[in-house]
Structures are given as structure tokens and as C-alpha cells.
Subunit: 198 residues, 2 copies
């Protein structure tokens, strides 16, 4: 008789997804196969299809969980001034991208390449991250920067988010000459700077 | 005897590329087939392979020509203040993206999706556009904005370029609430605003 704790199928699936997210740190989504995860989890390939109907469902579920993790780890804390809180949130984002570069860049690429499910996850994640800026009750709310919610402000916050993603990926590839603290300060300061033109 | 002017193979190839670029205005790169261009040019599919060895060579050549056109039309003019000249260059970019939305977005997607040739053209085009900002002798040179060339400034100019691309594509999809002149002013002002944090 096995002494292993019996997990419900739901709990087992969650465990497999967690393992998939871990494996995504050093692999692209395309490199993460059902075979590889089965091997790592010590179960058969056939059993994997008990938890995920297809490779596409598996990839989508792993990427959705990774995206939820990005949103969770970058949640701003309720302390300090607005720029300080924004810099704190950015630091968690930079650390996440640095620790999960292969998987993160493959998510960005996947979204761009026209896979509808990947694009939807990417768009929802970007929206969740930028919506914080518009959540005036929240700790990095827009009101803190002295602007109101207009179509022009929406465009610029969206643009700042695209800038942040591009700059952070470039910095992780080559951080020479820019200490992390300077990067965080520059990106945090860029948001009110960009908005000041409105 | 035909009265049509006989073109050299080189001139004929150039003509076909121009036609391809025109067709790219309302089509993605994937939708632009050798068959479609042959039909539009009134020549046989077989003759097309006389000018282009493969579908990939054809696509790469058309996209490279379209990218050269973006660089050409956005060349800043040598008149007015730095912000005015930047806004002029941005206006040409916005007009180009608006008039060629299908092809332009497919270039951006193609670069992200991991096609090496497309990525190279995209990277070279982005580099050509941002290098202008560093060309201190040129009409939108960095010296005009009172900063010097450092790794942090390189990152931020790169980020401003990513922001501009994202914001312009979003604005072309939905321009409601933001007149074009306001958009140009906001994006032009964002560059010195972002750089002022360094």
C-alpha cells in the first residue's frame, strides 16, 4: 500500500500546473511539452491527457497561471509615496522577468504571433496591470499623479506599460551601465513625466 | 510588335516590389501570396519565380522595401524647434501606420513570432528610427533635449520608441477622444519628459 497522500484530480492538476510554471522559467512555451512535464512529474504521458485534453489546453492553462503569478507578485503595497509604491511594484516585475526570462518572452511572442488564446491572456494581464493605475482607490491610483481619466491619459498609460515591458526585457538581456535601482527610479518617474504633458 | 517599354529584369523586379508594398497596405504579409501578386501584375506564377527564388525571399524583399519607406517618410525636416520637428516626423509615422495598418501590424507580429529575417528587418528599422535621436548633428538630435548619450538614455529612448509604436497602433484602431494633433503633441513631449528623469 502506498504511503503517498491521495490527491483529488483537481489538486493533482493544480500541482501539475505549478510544475509547468516552474519549468517555464527556463523554457519557452513551445519547448514545454506534455511529454516533458509527464517525465518531470513522474507520471505517464497518457495520464497527462486525463488532466489536459490537448497540448493547446495544457499550454493555455500553464500560461494563464504564470500570468496570474505576474499580477500577484507585482501587486503594489500600501506603504510609502506613490512613486515609491510604483517602484516597488516595478521591482517585483523586473525580478519576475529576470527569473523567468525564457517563458516570459515566449508569452509576449506568443501573444504577438496571433494565437488567439495566448493573445487574450496577454491582453487581460496587461489590462490588469494598467487598470491598477486607474484604480483611484488603490495604492498607485491615478489621482496620486494629479490627472483624471481621459482617452489621452488611457493611451499614455498604455504606452508607459509598453515602454516598461520593452525596457525591462532589454535591461534583463544587457543590464550593463544601469544599476537596478536606477532602472526602477527611471521607469517609475517616467509615468508622471509622460502624463504631465496632458 | 508590342509597344510596351522593355524593362531590365532589375527594373521589373523593382516594379513588382513596389506593387507588393502597395498591396501590403490592406493585407497582412501572410495574405500576400506570389499568386496574388502575379495576378495583379498580369504575369504568370512561373515568371514570378524568375524574380523571386521562394515565397520567403519574396516576403522578405517586400517587407524590407516597406520598412525602407517608413524610414524615408519619417525623416525629420530641418526646420522648426526640436519638438516641432519630432512632431512632424511622428505625423508621417502616424499617417503611414493608418494608411498601411494591415501590413504594418503584420510586420510587427512577424518580428515577434520568431521569423529571423522579419525580426532582423524590424530591429534594423527600429534602430534606424531611434538612431536619429542620437544623431546629435541631425535635426532631432539628443543634444537638443539637453541630455548626453548614456546606457540609461539608450534604454529610455528605446522605451519611448516602443511606447510610440504601441500608442499609435492603439490610436489607429480607436482614435475616439484624441485628435491627431493632440496625439502628436503628447508623443513628442513624452520624449524629453521621459529623459528628464535621468
Amino acid at each position: 500500500m502506498s504511503t503517498r497522500i491521495r490527491l483529488s484530480p483537481e489538486a493533482r492538476r493544480e500541482q501539475l500546473l505549478d510544475l509547468g510554471v516552474q519549468m517555464l522559467a527556463t523554457r519557452s512555451v513551445e519547448e514545454l511539452s506534455i511529454e516533458l512535464l509527464a517525465e518531470e512529474a513522474g507520471i505517464s504521458r497518457g495520464l497527462m491527457y486525463h488532466y489536459f485534453r490537448s497540448k493547446h489546453e495544457f499550454h493555455t492553462a500553464v500560461v494563464r497561471r504564470a500570468a496570474d503569478e505576474v499580477i500577484r507578485v507585482t501587486a503594489p503595497r500600501d506603504e510609502g509615496g506613490p512613486l515609491e509604491r510604483l517602484a516597488g511594484s516595478l521591482e517585483a516585475y523586473v525580478d519576475y522577468v529576470a527569473a523567468n526570462y525564457a517563458g516570459y518572452t515566449s508569452l509576449v511572442r506568443g501573444a504577438a504571433s496571433g494565437d488567439d488564446a495566448m493573445r487574450q491572456i496577454y491582453d487581460e494581464t496587461r489590462a490588469a496591470l494598467t487598470d491598477r493605475i486607474f484604480d483611484t482607490a488603490g495604492p498607485t491610483g491615478l489621482a496620486e499623479f494629479g490627472v483624471t481619466d481621459t482617452p489621452a491619459v488611457r493611451l499614455l498609460v498604455r504606452g508607459w506599460s509598453a515602454m516598461t515591458e520593452d525596457v525591462v526585457m532589454a535591461w534583463v538581456r544587457d543590464p550593463r551601465g544601469v544599476p537596478k535601482q536606477e532602472l526602477l527610479m527611471l521607469l517609475a518617474a517616467a509615468l508622471p513625466a509622460v502624463l504631465s504633458a496632458t
